[in-house]
Symmetry: C2
Subunit: 212 residues, 2 copies
């Protein structure tokens, strides 16, 4: 059984490579992979998971559709790679929660807006939120990563009854703002000065997170 390349010579004995790793490992192309990822992020962010097609990603990246499959495999894997945001929130969150809880509302509001005002971090976040309401994989990302890890971290430092509940109320407000301002782009919220939002929202967060 199992042809060894040499064999007896009876057939053409096309030497079928045996040990070749299944997925392209060398990655010679210049920035092809990165271009595809950037295009995927933009597409998922603009259209959400379902309405984004592999063809559309490929066209936006200027490559062939089969290449996307070649690099990432299935569509779900493209999505996962596209929204995988590398910033480590634990670090920055420590600075936000910081030493005491005085002024945590304002620091949190400002941190939240800074993340969303920066296009590099905003794009994958919009992609996740847009897709989370209709696609289960995206919902898992939102629930598991953003909410679980962030909320647990925040709730751990609170000194109020039902800290998890308080943290979720704060999060619900920020998610609502993100949707209306960055996804739905409802005016005048969409064009409002970030500082004017901080000014009004900070006391709310402060109350949820600290006031008994």
């Amino acid at each position: 059984m199992t042809d060894s390349p040499g064999g007896t010579g009876t057939g053409p004995a096309a030497p079928r490579r045996r040990g070749r790793p299944p997925r392209a490992s060398v990655d010679t192309g210049p920035g092809t992979r990165e271009r595809i990822l950037a295009a995927a992020r933009a597409e998922f962010s603009d259209r959400g998971y379902d309405k984004t097609s592999m063809r559309g990603i490929a066209k936006a990246a200027g490559v062939d559709a089969a290449l996307v499959h070649h690099y990432f495999g299935t569509k779900d894997e493209v999505f996962a790679a596209a929204v995988e945001v590398d910033f480590e929130p634990a670090l920055t969150l420590s600075a936000v929660l910081g030493h005491d809880l005085d002024g945590v509302g304002e620091r949190l509001a400002r941190y939240f807006l800074s993340v969303w005002e920066n296009p590099a971090t905003r794009t994958p976040l919009i992609a996740v939120i847009r897709s989370a309401l209709t696609h289960e994989a995206a919902a898992k990302v939102l629930r598991g990563f953003v909410l679980r890890r962030l909320l647990e971290r925040v709730a751990a430092d609170l000194k109020v009854p039902d800290p998890r509940f308080r943290a979720e109320l704060a999060a619900s407000h920020m998610i609502g703002i993100a949707i209306m301002r960055y996804v739905l782009e409802v005016e005048p919220l969409a064009s409002a000065d970030p500082e004017s939002i901080v000014e009004l929202v900070a006391p709310t967060l402060q109350r949820y997170l600290t006031e008994a």
Copy 2:
């Protein structure tokens, strides 16, 4: 012209109704049309616009797919008919905003939760929200109807600077709560007692809508 039922007696003279309107007015079926609408609401609510198919609606309603087309025409029309909520918000809103702005935060929070706790009103709302982030027609419904008409009505009564902005901040919080509690079903928010939510959220709304 036009046969009178008695006639001359030549035929069996089955008395054909004369004024019969073109589209099934009598609705002979038990509640076929209503069953389709209910199934459509459920499907749109569970899956969002894009992932809901005419075939799926038909199967859930126990009818043929072509019937859905026959009754409603296009998929967009089915959606429009399914989410068209008949409650007149202007009336109830008047009671919420009421005479003075004292306690408007609590009345608004309680009204908001009562609408979402009632399955009859919740289902089409979830359908709209689920679809709004990916489907333009649904976004139009949310933007134009819910936000425009409700927000304008609320903002008109406020006595603060930037009333529209204030009303949107309040709305963003309620939308965020609706998404986390009813769509994503994040715990413990999803199972929390409505009154405990009112208790914490009411002061926030009150401040946004009244405090200078």
